[in-house]
Symmetry: C2
Subunit: 395 residues, 2 copies
């Protein structure tokens, strides 16, 4: 038997005493749709009975695929055909599944920089050679990307894919400008570069609709777009979807793992299908936008009022995060222990880079706490930055 | 929009008209625990609330891990420590996850032969070099395995792992004899060979308790044992567990994918935890044993009465399958179209081999249909074999 005396944890998040944990990009538990899941389970089991518990159809259960097709058709300029769509066990699983069929160890992959630190870990676990492509406030700088691709080609390396979050990026909140979207797609089509579009924040747009996805703008096969129910419904479900070219979808659905599994998360997919069909998904997304929009504003307003001169940030139009550029010389790794001592935490910018960049930046998530806590956290962070700067000058 | 007029399928299984589909190793839908899942969802959401929907603890939610520890302690000679256990998204996912941390493309892996055909596909997708190790009615022939390992060593190849189903094997139903279990573990320990013990049929033992798992008999780190809720509860859940050495568990739980996901199938794991804790899992396993035991007997009795001379099979002590050796010269691939024309299907033995072996054998599953259908199917199969043999003689 286990020698533990403490019960083992249920969830991943660990709230430390007296720290506002702005490092975690997790949703506020009080907003998670417990009652919806109860209703949807009842609906799914009543409608599908034992079909909900049997080996599921490999691309995902029909009702969810059909709902996704209709929803995408309503939101975007094209809908995926049945061979361009599959249900996944979340965007991270989908990324890993795509890498398993598209890459070999040692292959070169371009990654937006900064980008989601745990996607970098998934890529690194596949032993890929990652080449950063810088992003600014308008997202990926496509001209620099072009130069990188050309430089790689001169070395005899052909990058197989680009990982990017063009819409409400993690960690910066930035959206790729529309002209850059077009230019990026042209480049990728010309170079045979597969764009891995991580598109999980689309439903959390706070200032009007999100920009069109790269997938919707591109010729078939150029973009694999990772969708997720984690941000607009609940992350513990481990459920998402993929829109991509028929070849790529077919390679994943035709592989041994899914032949053995059937649908990768079948039961949950049918329950979520009931959430979607009854309109609860759209209600939940709206509820989250209504909750997170004022949090974003409260945090950004408080930061604008409190941060010392030399700090910069853009208020994001959606998503979970605010990305702060610190004054020159202020190293966020060194700032972190002081900030935590004052009662606020964040993730240092270096986590989102593979080249040691990002020292003078940090990421805050505004989703986990109500406005008052965010305002308090902004003041604590500003105080920590000021103290740190004062110590550096006198040190 | 999709051009489909037919709704997309919900489940993987396709019932063809007028064929008893004994090729599919799927459970009988009428035995799947719809009401249990309803009750368990209610219990899990009442107890855990939003924790059921948040990012889950990476090794799996505490309540399920603790239940598994206690259950394994009650059934086996040792219980896994907390660092030797994790919740998985099913045995197939676990196999793939282990391969991702243990192997590189080109590595040599030994596979029991015959073995689960879709595990072979998962292994092949990783571009591993598979070397068959023959099994007989007492499971893997360990002396031959020793010879294979020695022969590989002479070629400078060190096999990294052995994939085996020692208890109620798919496709043969065989159990590895206890002496062979000990000898296999000694060999693996001496050679640094990781045993991948696929142990998903353990709860479906029809003639008394299943033999001890290799994992329970071996020193820590020698065996990674794949458990599953697919056979004793429901396959659509995509949920299982892994007992293995702390290093291997730590490599999987410490990887980028789970860092990003949290628990790999968190919500379902908490619902299943409620199934387990209330005693429903044991009730469901008992219900399945009570249902499948007479099916096994009905099929085996009918086969004994009907099959032509030269056919052989062993009545399995558990699991899903009966493995039939056909008379010399009867090729099951050629038999299949005739059998389907007569109204019964099976999987040819070649599917379970990587070396072209198994031509004169076939697998039947006795789980999907009630006794009367199995009896009818046995007669149809016997008739097809007789016709096929007659045609060969006269052809």
């Amino acid at each position: 038997m286990s020698s533990n005396v403490m019960p083992l944890p249920v969830v991943q998040f660990v709230q430390r005493p007296s720290i506002v944990e702005l490092g975690w990009g997790h949703p506020d538990p009080s907003l998670l749709p417990v009652e919806m899941m109860r209703r949807a389970t009842e609906a799914a089991l009543s409608r599908h009975g034992s079909d909900a518990l049997q080996y599921g159809s490999i691309p995902g259960p029909g009702p969810l695929l059909e709902w996704l097709q209709a929803r995408i058709a309503g939101q975007e300029s094209r809908a995926p055909g049945t061979e361009e769509l599959m249900v996944t066990a979340g965007a991270s699983w989908a990324l890993d599944a795509i890498l398993s069929v598209v890459t070999d160890p040692g292959d070169t992959i371009l990654v937006e920089s900064p980008t989601y630190h745990l996607a970098l870990r998934i890529l690194q676990d596949r032993r890929l050679r990652l080449v950063p492509a810088p992003a600014d406030a308008d997202g990926l700088v496509v001209e620099v990307l072009e130069e990188r691709v050309a430089a790689l080609r001169r070395e005899g390396r052909r990058p197989k894919a680009l990982y990017t979050i063009p819409t409400f990026a993690n960690p910066t909140g930035a959206c790729l400008a529309e002209g850059r979207r077009r230019r990026l797609i042209e480049l990728a089509a010309a170079e045979g570069l597969l764009i891995l579009e991580d598109d999980v924040y689309r439903d959390l747009a706070y200032d009007g609709a999100a920009p069109p996805s790269l997938w919707s703008m591109a010729p078939p096969g150029v973009v694999a777009r990772l969708g997720s129910f984690s941000k607009c419904l609940a992350p513990g479900l481990r459920l998402g979807w993929l829109t991509a070219g028929p070849d790529l979808v077919g390679q994943i659905t035709g592989g041994g793992l899914l032949d053995s599994c059937g649908g990768i998360n079948h039961y949950t997919a049918l329950v979520v299908s009931a959430v979607c069909e009854g309109g609860d998904l759209d209600r939940q997304a709206e509820r989250l936008r209504e909750a997170y929009r004022p949090r974003r504003e409260a945090l950004c307003d408080a930061l604008r009022g409190a941060l010392p001169e030399g700090c910069r940030f853009e208020q994001p139009g959606g998503g979970f995060f605010v990305w702060i550029s610190l004054p020159p010389g202020v190293d966020s790794e060194k700032l972190l222990p002081r900030a935590e001592a004052e009662g606020v935490s964040f993730l240092p910018g270096t986590r989102f880079h593979i080249d040691g960049g990002g020292r003078e930046s940090l990421r805050l998530a505004f989703t986990l706490y109500p406005e008052a806590e965010l305002v308090r956290a902004a003041a604590l962070l500003a105080g920590a930055i000021r103290s740190h700067m004062r110590d550096r000058r006198s040190g």
